[in-house]
Subunit: 329 residues, 2 copies
Protein backbone atom coordinates (compact mmCIF):
# COMPACT_ATOMS: atom_id res chain seq x y z
CA UNK A 1 0.00 0.00 0.00
CA UNK A 2 1.27 3.45 -0.95
CA UNK A 3 0.50 6.89 0.53
CA UNK A 4 1.17 8.35 3.93
CA UNK A 5 0.47 6.31 7.01
CA UNK A 6 -1.54 8.06 9.68
CA UNK A 7 1.15 7.27 12.25
CA UNK A 8 3.73 9.12 10.11
CA UNK A 9 1.53 12.18 9.96
CA UNK A 10 0.93 12.10 13.71
CA UNK A 11 4.63 11.69 14.34
CA UNK A 12 5.36 14.74 12.18
CA UNK A 13 2.82 16.83 14.06
CA UNK A 14 4.21 15.56 17.33
CA UNK A 15 7.79 16.41 16.33
CA UNK A 16 6.73 19.91 15.36
CA UNK A 17 4.95 20.41 18.68
CA UNK A 18 7.92 19.08 20.58
CA UNK A 19 10.21 21.55 18.92
CA UNK A 20 7.95 24.56 19.51
CA UNK A 21 6.34 23.36 22.77
CA UNK A 22 3.33 25.54 22.08
CA UNK A 23 0.34 25.68 24.40
CA UNK A 24 -2.91 27.48 23.61
CA UNK A 25 -3.64 30.37 25.95
CA UNK A 26 -6.75 32.44 25.48
CA UNK A 27 -8.84 34.77 27.54
CA UNK A 28 -12.60 35.34 27.24
CA UNK A 29 -14.33 38.28 28.90
CA UNK A 30 -17.57 37.03 30.46
CA UNK A 31 -18.59 40.32 32.09
CA UNK A 32 -17.13 43.81 31.76
CA UNK A 33 -19.37 46.20 33.72
CA UNK A 34 -18.60 47.72 37.12
CA UNK A 35 -21.05 47.41 40.04
CA UNK A 36 -24.25 47.50 37.97
CA UNK A 37 -24.77 45.43 34.81
CA UNK A 38 -26.01 47.08 31.64
CA UNK A 39 -27.94 45.60 28.74
CA UNK A 40 -24.66 44.85 26.92
CA UNK A 41 -22.21 44.34 29.81
CA UNK A 42 -22.53 41.71 32.54
CA UNK A 43 -20.76 41.79 35.91
CA UNK A 44 -17.05 41.02 36.32
CA UNK A 45 -15.69 37.70 35.16
CA UNK A 46 -12.76 36.64 32.99
CA UNK A 47 -12.17 33.09 31.77
CA UNK A 48 -8.64 32.04 30.92
CA UNK A 49 -8.19 28.77 29.03
CA UNK A 50 -4.78 27.12 28.91
CA UNK A 51 -4.15 23.66 27.56
CA UNK A 52 -7.75 22.61 28.28
CA UNK A 53 -7.71 23.98 31.82
CA UNK A 54 -9.99 26.84 32.86
CA UNK A 55 -9.06 29.61 35.27
CA UNK A 56 -12.02 31.79 36.18
CA UNK A 57 -11.13 35.19 37.62
CA UNK A 58 -14.14 36.57 39.51
CA UNK A 59 -17.71 35.36 39.14
CA UNK A 60 -20.17 38.25 38.95
CA UNK A 61 -23.93 37.63 39.01
CA UNK A 62 -25.04 35.87 35.84
CA UNK A 63 -21.71 34.20 35.05
CA UNK A 64 -23.30 30.74 34.82
CA UNK A 65 -25.38 32.02 31.91
CA UNK A 66 -22.21 33.16 30.14
CA UNK A 67 -20.67 29.69 30.23
CA UNK A 68 -22.82 28.18 27.45
CA UNK A 69 -22.67 31.46 25.48
CA UNK A 70 -18.86 31.24 25.59
CA UNK A 71 -19.07 27.48 24.92
CA UNK A 72 -17.42 26.62 28.23
CA UNK A 73 -18.58 23.39 29.87
CA UNK A 74 -19.46 23.06 33.57
CA UNK A 75 -17.50 19.87 34.18
CA UNK A 76 -14.05 20.79 32.98
CA UNK A 77 -10.79 21.00 34.90
CA UNK A 78 -10.98 24.41 36.48
CA UNK A 79 -10.23 26.65 39.43
CA UNK A 80 -11.76 29.97 40.42
CA UNK A 81 -9.96 33.03 41.77
CA UNK A 82 -12.01 35.71 43.52
CA UNK A 83 -10.41 39.16 43.72
CA UNK A 84 -12.62 40.48 46.52
CA UNK A 85 -15.98 39.99 48.15
CA UNK A 86 -18.01 42.79 46.63
CA UNK A 87 -21.20 41.26 45.25
CA UNK A 88 -20.54 42.22 41.64
CA UNK A 89 -17.40 40.03 41.70
CA UNK A 90 -18.61 36.92 43.54
CA UNK A 91 -22.41 36.51 43.73
CA UNK A 92 -22.36 34.47 40.51
CA UNK A 93 -20.47 31.73 42.40
CA UNK A 94 -23.73 30.64 44.02
CA UNK A 95 -25.59 29.87 40.80
CA UNK A 96 -22.43 28.47 39.21
CA UNK A 97 -21.90 25.92 42.02
CA UNK A 98 -25.58 24.93 41.92
CA UNK A 99 -25.65 24.53 38.17
CA UNK A 100 -22.45 22.47 38.24
CA UNK A 101 -24.27 20.14 40.62
CA UNK A 102 -27.40 20.12 38.45
CA UNK A 103 -25.30 18.84 35.55
CA UNK A 104 -23.58 16.33 37.86
CA UNK A 105 -20.08 17.77 37.82
CA UNK A 106 -17.71 15.23 39.32
CA UNK A 107 -14.30 16.89 38.99
CA UNK A 108 -12.97 18.56 42.15
CA UNK A 109 -13.02 22.35 42.22
CA UNK A 110 -10.91 24.79 44.19
CA UNK A 111 -12.04 28.38 44.77
CA UNK A 112 -9.35 30.81 45.93
CA UNK A 113 -10.09 34.17 47.50
CA UNK A 114 -9.89 36.47 50.50
CA UNK A 115 -10.85 35.51 54.04
CA UNK A 116 -14.64 35.73 54.23
CA UNK A 117 -15.12 33.60 51.12
CA UNK A 118 -15.57 30.46 53.23
CA UNK A 119 -18.36 32.05 55.29
CA UNK A 120 -20.03 33.45 52.17
CA UNK A 121 -20.17 30.05 50.50
CA UNK A 122 -21.02 28.09 53.65
CA UNK A 123 -23.83 30.42 54.76
CA UNK A 124 -25.41 30.35 51.32
CA UNK A 125 -25.19 26.57 51.00
CA UNK A 126 -27.08 26.47 54.31
CA UNK A 127 -29.67 29.13 53.42
CA UNK A 128 -30.34 27.83 49.93
CA UNK A 129 -30.02 24.19 50.98
CA UNK A 130 -28.06 22.94 48.01
CA UNK A 131 -25.78 19.94 47.84
CA UNK A 132 -22.69 19.56 45.66
CA UNK A 133 -21.97 16.60 43.40
CA UNK A 134 -18.21 17.30 43.42
CA UNK A 135 -15.50 17.96 46.02
CA UNK A 136 -15.20 21.71 46.69
CA UNK A 137 -12.23 23.26 48.41
CA UNK A 138 -12.09 26.94 49.36
CA UNK A 139 -8.58 28.29 49.92
CA UNK A 140 -7.77 31.60 51.54
CA UNK A 141 -5.24 33.56 49.49
CA UNK A 142 -2.22 35.40 50.85
CA UNK A 143 0.00 37.71 48.89
CA UNK A 144 2.66 35.83 46.90
CA UNK A 145 2.54 32.36 45.39
CA UNK A 146 -0.96 30.86 45.25
CA UNK A 147 -0.54 27.84 42.97
CA UNK A 148 2.50 26.19 41.39
CA UNK A 149 2.38 23.35 38.89
CA UNK A 150 5.00 21.90 36.54
CA UNK A 151 4.01 24.50 33.94
CA UNK A 152 2.86 27.70 35.64
CA UNK A 153 2.46 29.85 38.73
CA UNK A 154 -0.58 31.72 39.95
CA UNK A 155 0.50 34.65 42.12
CA UNK A 156 -1.41 37.30 44.02
CA UNK A 157 -0.67 40.86 45.03
CA UNK A 158 -2.82 43.03 47.29
CA UNK A 159 -4.41 46.07 45.66
CA UNK A 160 -5.86 49.18 47.27
CA UNK A 161 -9.65 49.07 47.54
CA UNK A 162 -12.46 49.43 50.08
CA UNK A 163 -11.93 45.82 51.09
CA UNK A 164 -9.01 43.44 50.53
CA UNK A 165 -8.59 42.91 46.78
CA UNK A 166 -6.17 40.58 45.05
CA UNK A 167 -4.57 41.25 41.69
CA UNK A 168 -3.79 37.83 40.19
CA UNK A 169 -1.20 36.71 37.66
CA UNK A 170 -0.87 33.53 35.64
CA UNK A 171 2.80 33.10 34.75
CA UNK A 172 4.05 30.24 32.62
CA UNK A 173 7.41 28.77 33.51
CA UNK A 174 10.14 29.19 30.91
CA UNK A 175 10.20 26.62 28.11
CA UNK A 176 13.45 24.90 27.07
CA UNK A 177 15.22 26.57 24.15
CA UNK A 178 14.90 25.61 20.49
CA UNK A 179 16.25 22.08 19.81
CA UNK A 180 19.17 21.80 17.43
CA UNK A 181 18.91 18.42 15.63
CA UNK A 182 22.36 18.86 14.00
CA UNK A 183 24.02 19.22 17.40
CA UNK A 184 22.18 16.09 18.62
CA UNK A 185 23.34 14.12 15.57
CA UNK A 186 26.94 15.33 16.03
CA UNK A 187 26.76 14.04 19.61
CA UNK A 188 25.56 10.69 18.20
CA UNK A 189 22.23 10.82 20.03
CA UNK A 190 19.84 8.54 18.11
CA UNK A 191 16.49 10.07 17.05
CA UNK A 192 13.45 9.08 19.14
CA UNK A 193 12.88 8.96 22.86
CA UNK A 194 16.30 10.47 23.70
CA UNK A 195 15.73 13.48 21.43
CA UNK A 196 12.37 13.98 23.07
CA UNK A 197 13.97 13.99 26.52
CA UNK A 198 16.60 16.52 25.47
CA UNK A 199 13.90 18.73 23.93
CA UNK A 200 12.12 18.77 27.26
CA UNK A 201 15.32 19.91 28.96
CA UNK A 202 16.27 16.53 30.47
CA UNK A 203 19.78 14.99 30.42
CA UNK A 204 20.30 11.66 28.61
CA UNK A 205 23.04 9.00 28.73
CA UNK A 206 24.77 7.63 25.61
CA UNK A 207 27.34 4.85 26.09
CA UNK A 208 28.00 5.93 29.68
CA UNK A 209 28.36 9.60 28.70
CA UNK A 210 25.87 12.17 30.13
CA UNK A 211 24.61 14.61 27.52
CA UNK A 212 23.49 17.89 29.06
CA UNK A 213 20.45 19.36 27.22
CA UNK A 214 22.21 22.73 27.06
CA UNK A 215 24.47 21.22 24.39
CA UNK A 216 21.55 20.79 21.98
CA UNK A 217 19.16 23.57 23.04
CA UNK A 218 19.17 27.31 22.39
CA UNK A 219 18.57 29.77 25.23
CA UNK A 220 15.43 29.00 27.25
CA UNK A 221 12.27 30.75 26.02
CA UNK A 222 10.12 32.89 28.25
CA UNK A 223 6.61 31.73 29.13
CA UNK A 224 3.67 34.11 28.99
CA UNK A 225 2.37 36.26 31.81
CA UNK A 226 -1.12 37.68 32.17
CA UNK A 227 -2.49 39.72 35.05
CA UNK A 228 -6.05 40.58 36.09
CA UNK A 229 -6.60 43.42 38.50
CA UNK A 230 -9.95 43.13 40.26
CA UNK A 231 -10.84 46.55 41.78
CA UNK A 232 -7.99 48.79 42.85
CA UNK A 233 -6.19 52.12 42.73
CA UNK A 234 -2.84 52.03 40.93
CA UNK A 235 0.03 51.38 43.37
CA UNK A 236 3.81 50.88 43.11
CA UNK A 237 3.36 47.29 44.34
CA UNK A 238 0.92 46.50 41.53
CA UNK A 239 3.23 48.19 39.01
CA UNK A 240 6.02 45.82 40.02
CA UNK A 241 3.62 42.86 40.05
CA UNK A 242 2.38 43.41 36.48
CA UNK A 243 5.87 44.21 35.17
CA UNK A 244 6.57 42.81 31.71
CA UNK A 245 3.18 41.09 31.39
CA UNK A 246 2.19 39.99 27.90
CA UNK A 247 -1.37 41.05 28.75
CA UNK A 248 -2.73 43.09 31.65
CA UNK A 249 -6.48 43.20 32.18
CA UNK A 250 -6.96 46.32 34.29
CA UNK A 251 -10.06 47.86 35.77
CA UNK A 252 -10.93 51.21 34.32
CA UNK A 253 -14.11 52.15 36.13
CA UNK A 254 -13.83 55.82 35.23
CA UNK A 255 -12.47 58.23 32.65
CA UNK A 256 -10.94 61.70 33.10
CA UNK A 257 -14.32 63.27 33.87
CA UNK A 258 -14.45 61.37 37.15
CA UNK A 259 -10.84 61.46 38.35
CA UNK A 260 -12.00 62.50 41.82
CA UNK A 261 -14.56 59.71 42.03
CA UNK A 262 -11.83 57.22 41.07
CA UNK A 263 -9.75 58.37 44.05
CA UNK A 264 -12.72 58.50 46.38
CA UNK A 265 -14.06 55.04 45.46
CA UNK A 266 -10.59 53.48 45.09
CA UNK A 267 -10.81 52.65 41.40
CA UNK A 268 -8.72 53.62 38.37
CA UNK A 269 -9.35 55.87 35.43
CA UNK A 270 -8.42 54.60 31.97
CA UNK A 271 -5.54 57.10 31.97
CA UNK A 272 -4.20 55.82 35.29
CA UNK A 273 -4.40 52.19 34.14
CA UNK A 274 -2.58 53.05 30.91
CA UNK A 275 0.07 55.02 32.77
CA UNK A 276 0.79 52.14 35.14
CA UNK A 277 0.80 49.56 32.32
CA UNK A 278 3.14 51.71 30.26
CA UNK A 279 5.60 52.23 33.13
CA UNK A 280 5.47 48.47 33.86
CA UNK A 281 6.33 47.56 30.25
CA UNK A 282 3.11 45.65 29.77
CA UNK A 283 2.86 44.50 26.15
CA UNK A 284 -0.91 44.61 25.70
CA UNK A 285 -3.43 46.37 27.93
CA UNK A 286 -7.10 45.41 28.06
CA UNK A 287 -9.39 47.85 29.87
CA UNK A 288 -12.51 46.49 31.57
CA UNK A 289 -14.93 47.11 34.49
CA UNK A 290 -16.49 50.27 33.12
CA UNK A 291 -18.98 52.29 35.14
CA UNK A 292 -22.49 51.85 33.75
CA UNK A 293 -22.65 55.64 33.30
CA UNK A 294 -20.57 55.33 30.11
CA UNK A 295 -22.82 54.36 27.21
CA UNK A 296 -20.08 54.59 24.63
CA UNK A 297 -16.44 54.03 25.51
CA UNK A 298 -14.95 54.66 22.06
CA UNK A 299 -14.85 58.48 22.15
CA UNK A 300 -13.05 58.39 25.53
CA UNK A 301 -10.33 55.96 24.54
CA UNK A 302 -7.76 58.48 23.40
CA UNK A 303 -7.25 59.33 27.10
CA UNK A 304 -5.52 55.95 27.48
CA UNK A 305 -4.39 55.19 23.93
CA UNK A 306 -2.05 58.17 23.85
CA UNK A 307 -0.22 56.65 26.81
CA UNK A 308 -0.38 52.92 25.95
CA UNK A 309 -1.13 52.41 22.25
CA UNK A 310 -1.41 48.60 22.38
CA UNK A 311 -4.80 48.83 24.01
CA UNK A 312 -8.00 46.82 23.79
CA UNK A 313 -11.44 47.66 25.16
CA UNK A 314 -13.02 44.59 26.72
CA UNK A 315 -16.50 43.62 25.55
CA UNK A 316 -18.54 40.70 26.85
CA UNK A 317 -17.48 37.53 25.00
CA UNK A 318 -14.44 39.11 23.37
CA UNK A 319 -11.73 36.45 22.96
CA UNK A 320 -8.01 37.28 23.12
CA UNK A 321 -5.39 34.76 22.02
CA UNK A 322 -2.17 35.33 23.90
CA UNK A 323 0.89 34.50 21.82
CA UNK A 324 4.39 33.72 23.02
CA UNK A 325 6.74 36.68 22.73
CA UNK A 326 8.86 34.59 20.29
CA UNK A 327 5.93 32.93 18.52
CA UNK A 328 5.93 33.40 14.78
CA UNK A 329 3.65 30.59 13.72
Amino acid sequence: MGGIYLSDVLLDVFKHQRVLLLTDLKLIFLGTSASVPTIHRGLSSVAVLRDGELFLFDAGEGVQRSFPKAKIGFNRKMSIFISHLHGDHCVGLLGLLQTMSMVQRDKPLTVYGPRGLIGFIRNNIRSLKFGLTFPLEVKIVREGLVVETRDYFIKACIGQHRMKNFVYSLEEKDRPGVFNPKAAKNLKVPEGILWSKLQKGESVEINGKIINPNLVLGPSRKGRKIVISGDTRPTPTIKRFISGADLAVLESTYFDDHQEKAKENLHMTAREAAQMASEADVNQLALTHFSSRYDDIAPLLSQAQDIHPNLIVAEDFLVLNIQYPDEKV
Copy 2:
Protein backbone atom coordinates in the same frame (compact mmCIF):
# COMPACT_ATOMS: atom_id res chain seq x y z
CA MET B 1 -60.94 82.49 24.14
CA GLY B 2 -62.67 79.58 22.41
CA GLY B 3 -61.82 75.88 22.32
CA ILE B 4 -61.77 73.30 25.05
CA TYR B 5 -60.23 74.15 28.38
CA LEU B 6 -57.76 71.60 29.70
CA SER B 7 -59.71 71.36 32.94
CA ASP B 8 -62.82 70.33 30.98
CA VAL B 9 -60.89 67.58 29.22
CA LEU B 10 -59.43 66.32 32.48
CA LEU B 11 -62.84 66.37 34.09
CA ASP B 12 -64.25 64.29 31.25
CA VAL B 13 -61.47 61.74 31.57
CA PHE B 14 -61.94 61.72 35.30
CA LYS B 15 -65.70 61.16 35.00
CA HIS B 16 -65.14 58.27 32.62
CA GLN B 17 -62.62 56.68 34.98
CA ARG B 18 -64.96 57.14 37.90
CA VAL B 19 -67.72 55.34 36.11
CA LEU B 20 -65.57 52.42 34.99
CA LEU B 21 -63.08 52.53 37.90
CA LEU B 22 -60.45 50.93 35.70
CA THR B 23 -56.95 50.23 36.91
CA ASP B 24 -54.12 48.98 34.72
CA LEU B 25 -52.92 45.53 35.68
CA LYS B 26 -50.14 43.90 33.73
CA LEU B 27 -47.67 41.13 34.23
CA ILE B 28 -44.17 40.89 32.75
CA PHE B 29 -42.19 37.66 32.80
CA LEU B 30 -38.59 38.48 33.73
CA GLY B 31 -37.31 34.89 33.86
CA THR B 32 -38.97 31.63 32.81
CA SER B 33 -36.39 28.85 33.17
CA ALA B 34 -36.26 26.26 35.96
CA SER B 35 -33.09 25.73 38.04
CA VAL B 36 -30.59 26.47 35.26
CA PRO B 37 -30.87 29.48 32.94
CA THR B 38 -30.63 29.01 29.18
CA ILE B 39 -29.51 31.45 26.52
CA HIS B 40 -33.11 32.60 26.03
CA ARG B 41 -34.64 32.02 29.48
CA GLY B 42 -33.46 33.61 32.73
CA LEU B 43 -34.25 32.36 36.23
CA SER B 44 -37.66 32.77 37.88
CA SER B 45 -39.13 36.20 38.28
CA VAL B 46 -42.49 37.77 37.47
CA ALA B 47 -43.23 41.49 37.71
CA VAL B 48 -46.83 42.59 38.25
CA LEU B 49 -47.63 46.27 37.74
CA ARG B 50 -50.86 47.70 39.11
CA ASP B 51 -51.67 51.36 39.20
CA GLY B 52 -47.99 52.30 39.22
CA GLU B 53 -47.11 49.85 41.99
CA LEU B 54 -44.74 46.93 41.36
CA PHE B 55 -45.11 43.48 42.88
CA LEU B 56 -42.11 41.27 42.17
CA PHE B 57 -42.72 37.55 42.58
CA ASP B 58 -39.36 35.79 43.02
CA ALA B 59 -35.99 37.23 42.11
CA GLY B 60 -33.81 34.67 40.30
CA GLU B 61 -30.16 35.42 39.53
CA GLY B 62 -29.88 38.17 36.94
CA VAL B 63 -33.22 39.85 37.68
CA GLN B 64 -31.59 43.27 38.18
CA ARG B 65 -30.45 43.11 34.56
CA SER B 66 -34.04 42.47 33.46
CA PHE B 67 -35.33 45.65 35.10
CA PRO B 68 -33.96 48.07 32.50
CA LYS B 69 -34.79 45.63 29.69
CA ALA B 70 -38.42 45.60 30.89
CA LYS B 71 -38.22 49.38 31.46
CA ILE B 72 -38.87 49.02 35.19
CA GLY B 73 -37.15 51.59 37.42
CA PHE B 74 -35.27 50.74 40.63
CA ASN B 75 -36.86 53.45 42.78
CA ARG B 76 -40.55 52.81 42.34
CA LYS B 77 -43.15 51.81 44.91
CA MET B 78 -42.69 48.06 45.15
CA SER B 79 -42.72 44.97 47.27
CA ILE B 80 -41.11 41.58 46.67
CA PHE B 81 -42.61 38.17 47.37
CA ILE B 82 -40.27 35.17 47.51
CA SER B 83 -41.92 31.77 46.99
CA HIS B 84 -39.07 29.72 48.47
CA LEU B 85 -35.37 29.82 49.19
CA HIS B 86 -33.97 27.76 46.34
CA GLY B 87 -31.22 29.82 44.73
CA ASP B 88 -32.89 30.07 41.33
CA HIS B 89 -35.78 31.95 42.96
CA CYS B 90 -33.98 34.34 45.31
CA VAL B 91 -30.26 34.85 44.58
CA GLY B 92 -31.11 37.83 42.36
CA LEU B 93 -32.28 39.70 45.47
CA LEU B 94 -28.64 40.37 46.40
CA GLY B 95 -27.72 42.24 43.24
CA LEU B 96 -31.11 43.93 43.13
CA LEU B 97 -30.73 45.38 46.64
CA GLN B 98 -27.18 46.52 45.88
CA THR B 99 -28.12 48.15 42.60
CA MET B 100 -31.09 49.91 44.22
CA SER B 101 -28.58 51.41 46.62
CA MET B 102 -26.14 52.30 43.82
CA VAL B 103 -28.92 54.36 42.19
CA GLN B 104 -29.81 55.88 45.60
CA ARG B 105 -33.26 54.36 46.04
CA ASP B 106 -35.01 56.15 48.89
CA LYS B 107 -38.46 54.52 48.99
CA PRO B 108 -38.95 51.85 51.65
CA LEU B 109 -39.05 48.25 50.46
CA THR B 110 -40.65 45.18 52.02
CA VAL B 111 -39.57 41.67 51.05
CA TYR B 112 -41.93 38.86 52.02
CA GLY B 113 -40.95 35.22 52.15
CA PRO B 114 -40.42 32.04 54.14
CA ARG B 115 -38.46 31.84 57.37
CA GLY B 116 -34.79 31.77 56.44
CA LEU B 117 -35.08 34.82 54.20
CA ILE B 118 -33.93 37.11 57.02
CA GLY B 119 -30.76 35.06 57.58
CA PHE B 120 -30.09 34.84 53.85
CA ILE B 121 -30.25 38.62 53.42
CA ARG B 122 -28.48 39.47 56.68
CA ASN B 123 -25.58 37.05 56.14
CA ASN B 124 -24.99 38.32 52.63
CA ILE B 125 -25.12 41.97 53.64
CA ARG B 126 -22.39 41.08 56.14
CA SER B 127 -20.27 38.98 53.75
CA LEU B 128 -20.52 41.38 50.84
CA LYS B 129 -20.36 44.45 53.08
CA PHE B 130 -23.01 46.51 51.33
CA GLY B 131 -25.13 49.27 52.80
CA LEU B 132 -28.66 50.23 51.81
CA THR B 133 -29.86 53.72 50.95
CA PHE B 134 -33.48 52.87 51.78
CA PRO B 135 -35.42 51.25 54.65
CA LEU B 136 -35.68 47.49 54.10
CA GLU B 137 -38.14 45.31 55.96
CA VAL B 138 -38.18 41.53 55.65
CA LYS B 139 -41.46 39.90 56.67
CA ILE B 140 -41.94 36.19 57.26
CA VAL B 141 -45.03 34.90 55.47
CA ARG B 142 -47.63 32.56 56.92
CA GLU B 143 -50.40 30.91 54.98
CA GLY B 144 -53.41 33.19 54.54
CA LEU B 145 -53.57 36.96 54.28
CA VAL B 146 -50.18 38.59 53.71
CA VAL B 147 -51.09 42.19 52.75
CA GLU B 148 -54.38 44.09 52.69
CA THR B 149 -54.83 47.60 51.35
CA ARG B 150 -57.92 49.59 50.40
CA ASP B 151 -57.80 48.05 46.92
CA TYR B 152 -56.35 44.55 47.11
CA PHE B 153 -55.22 41.51 49.08
CA ILE B 154 -52.04 39.51 48.73
CA LYS B 155 -52.61 35.99 50.02
CA ALA B 156 -50.36 32.95 50.34
CA CYS B 157 -50.96 29.23 50.29
CA ILE B 158 -48.38 26.56 51.04
CA GLY B 159 -47.43 24.30 48.13
CA GLN B 160 -45.74 20.91 48.15
CA HIS B 161 -42.03 21.13 47.39
CA ARG B 162 -38.66 20.09 48.80
CA MET B 163 -38.72 23.14 51.05
CA LYS B 164 -41.57 25.43 52.13
CA ASN B 165 -42.97 27.12 49.03
CA PHE B 166 -45.66 29.78 48.88
CA VAL B 167 -48.16 30.17 46.07
CA TYR B 168 -49.17 33.84 46.06
CA SER B 169 -52.30 35.60 44.85
CA LEU B 170 -53.04 39.23 44.17
CA GLU B 171 -56.79 39.73 44.51
CA GLU B 172 -58.46 43.05 43.88
CA LYS B 173 -61.37 43.95 46.09
CA ASP B 174 -64.73 44.22 44.33
CA ARG B 175 -65.48 47.52 42.65
CA PRO B 176 -68.86 49.27 43.14
CA GLY B 177 -71.42 48.49 40.41
CA VAL B 178 -72.08 50.64 37.33
CA PHE B 179 -73.43 54.08 38.26
CA ASN B 180 -76.90 54.96 36.97
CA PRO B 181 -77.05 58.75 36.39
CA LYS B 182 -80.82 58.64 35.68
CA ALA B 183 -81.48 57.12 39.10
CA ALA B 184 -79.30 59.77 40.73
CA LYS B 185 -81.15 62.57 38.91
CA ASN B 186 -84.52 61.09 39.93
CA LEU B 187 -83.32 61.14 43.54
CA LYS B 188 -82.41 64.83 43.02
CA VAL B 189 -78.72 64.29 43.74
CA PRO B 190 -76.84 67.18 42.07
CA GLU B 191 -74.00 66.27 39.73
CA GLY B 192 -70.46 66.73 41.13
CA ILE B 193 -68.88 65.65 44.38
CA LEU B 194 -72.00 63.78 45.58
CA TRP B 195 -72.20 61.69 42.39
CA SER B 196 -68.54 60.88 42.80
CA LYS B 197 -69.12 59.66 46.36
CA LEU B 198 -72.03 57.46 45.28
CA GLN B 199 -69.94 56.05 42.41
CA LYS B 200 -67.30 55.05 44.94
CA GLY B 201 -69.95 53.23 46.97
CA GLU B 202 -70.33 55.88 49.72
CA SER B 203 -73.68 57.14 51.10
CA VAL B 204 -74.55 60.83 50.70
CA GLU B 205 -77.03 63.15 52.43
CA ILE B 206 -79.51 65.36 50.52
CA ASN B 207 -81.72 67.68 52.56
CA GLY B 208 -81.42 65.47 55.62
CA LYS B 209 -82.17 62.30 53.65
CA ILE B 210 -79.49 59.55 53.43
CA ILE B 211 -79.09 58.15 49.93
CA ASN B 212 -77.70 54.62 49.94
CA PRO B 213 -75.35 54.01 46.98
CA ASN B 214 -77.20 50.77 46.19
CA LEU B 215 -80.06 52.93 44.87
CA VAL B 216 -77.90 54.29 42.06
CA LEU B 217 -75.41 51.45 41.46
CA GLY B 218 -75.73 48.14 39.67
CA PRO B 219 -74.44 44.95 41.30
CA SER B 220 -70.84 45.24 42.52
CA ARG B 221 -68.23 44.18 39.99
CA LYS B 222 -65.57 41.61 40.71
CA GLY B 223 -61.93 42.64 40.91
CA ARG B 224 -59.26 40.61 39.22
CA LYS B 225 -57.32 37.72 40.70
CA ILE B 226 -53.94 36.47 39.59
CA VAL B 227 -51.91 33.66 41.15
CA ILE B 228 -48.25 32.71 40.83
CA SER B 229 -47.19 29.27 41.93
CA GLY B 230 -43.47 29.12 42.72
CA ASP B 231 -42.36 25.45 42.70
CA THR B 232 -44.90 22.84 43.70
CA ARG B 233 -46.78 19.64 43.00
CA PRO B 234 -50.50 20.15 42.32
CA THR B 235 -52.55 19.81 45.53
CA PRO B 236 -56.23 20.17 46.49
CA THR B 237 -55.30 23.18 48.66
CA ILE B 238 -53.71 24.98 45.72
CA LYS B 239 -56.68 24.09 43.51
CA ARG B 240 -58.99 25.84 45.97
CA PHE B 241 -56.54 28.75 46.32
CA ILE B 242 -56.36 29.47 42.57
CA SER B 243 -60.10 28.97 42.07
CA GLY B 244 -61.67 31.40 39.60
CA ALA B 245 -58.44 33.29 38.94
CA ASP B 246 -58.39 35.52 35.88
CA LEU B 247 -54.79 34.42 35.33
CA ALA B 248 -52.79 31.62 36.90
CA VAL B 249 -49.03 31.52 36.31
CA LEU B 250 -48.15 27.92 37.07
CA GLU B 251 -44.82 26.14 37.07
CA SER B 252 -44.54 23.49 34.40
CA THR B 253 -41.03 22.18 34.85
CA TYR B 254 -41.70 19.00 32.89
CA PHE B 255 -43.82 17.49 30.14
CA ASP B 256 -45.33 14.00 29.84
CA ASP B 257 -41.95 12.43 29.06
CA HIS B 258 -40.82 13.16 32.63
CA GLN B 259 -43.97 12.51 34.67
CA GLU B 260 -41.95 10.43 37.13
CA LYS B 261 -39.32 13.13 37.54
CA ALA B 262 -42.07 15.65 38.27
CA LYS B 263 -43.31 13.49 41.16
CA GLU B 264 -39.81 12.75 42.39
CA ASN B 265 -38.65 16.38 42.33
CA LEU B 266 -42.00 17.81 43.47
CA HIS B 267 -42.76 19.80 40.35
CA MET B 268 -45.65 19.77 37.86
CA THR B 269 -45.94 18.65 34.28
CA ALA B 270 -47.75 20.94 31.84
CA ARG B 271 -50.60 18.44 31.80
CA GLU B 272 -50.94 18.49 35.59
CA ALA B 273 -50.90 22.29 35.71
CA ALA B 274 -53.56 22.45 33.00
CA GLN B 275 -55.68 19.84 34.76
CA MET B 276 -55.59 21.76 38.04
CA ALA B 277 -56.28 25.11 36.35
CA SER B 278 -59.17 23.64 34.42
CA GLU B 279 -60.77 22.08 37.52
CA ALA B 280 -60.29 25.38 39.38
CA ASP B 281 -62.07 27.38 36.64
CA VAL B 282 -59.02 29.50 35.96
CA ASN B 283 -59.71 31.79 33.01
CA GLN B 284 -56.24 32.04 31.53
CA LEU B 285 -53.28 29.78 32.26
CA ALA B 286 -49.66 30.82 31.69
CA LEU B 287 -47.09 28.05 31.90
CA THR B 288 -43.57 28.93 33.03
CA HIS B 289 -40.45 27.53 34.79
CA PHE B 290 -39.49 25.06 32.07
CA SER B 291 -36.65 22.61 32.56
CA SER B 292 -33.64 23.67 30.49
CA ARG B 293 -33.76 20.25 28.79
CA TYR B 294 -36.63 21.47 26.56
CA ASP B 295 -35.22 23.45 23.65
CA ASP B 296 -38.58 23.94 22.01
CA ILE B 297 -41.80 24.00 24.00
CA ALA B 298 -44.21 24.46 21.07
CA PRO B 299 -44.46 20.81 19.93
CA LEU B 300 -45.25 19.71 23.50
CA LEU B 301 -48.02 22.19 24.18
CA SER B 302 -50.92 20.05 23.01
CA GLN B 303 -50.40 18.02 26.19
CA ALA B 304 -51.82 20.98 28.14
CA GLN B 305 -53.86 22.80 25.49
CA ASP B 306 -56.25 19.89 25.08
CA ILE B 307 -57.12 20.28 28.77
CA HIS B 308 -57.04 24.09 29.16
CA PRO B 309 -57.33 25.82 25.77
CA ASN B 310 -56.83 29.40 27.07
CA LEU B 311 -53.15 28.82 27.54
CA ILE B 312 -50.05 30.94 27.11
CA VAL B 313 -46.41 29.88 27.13
CA ALA B 314 -44.33 32.34 29.13
CA GLU B 315 -41.27 33.81 27.43
CA ASP B 316 -38.83 36.25 29.02
CA PHE B 317 -40.19 39.80 28.67
CA LEU B 318 -43.65 38.68 27.51
CA VAL B 319 -46.25 41.19 28.76
CA LEU B 320 -49.81 40.17 29.65
CA ASN B 321 -52.50 42.77 30.22
CA ILE B 322 -55.11 41.44 32.60
CA GLN B 323 -58.57 42.73 31.84
CA TYR B 324 -61.56 42.87 34.13
CA PRO B 325 -64.02 40.04 33.54
CA ASP B 326 -66.65 42.67 32.61
CA GLU B 327 -64.28 44.97 30.76
CA LYS B 328 -65.36 45.76 27.23
CA VAL B 329 -63.36 48.90 26.59
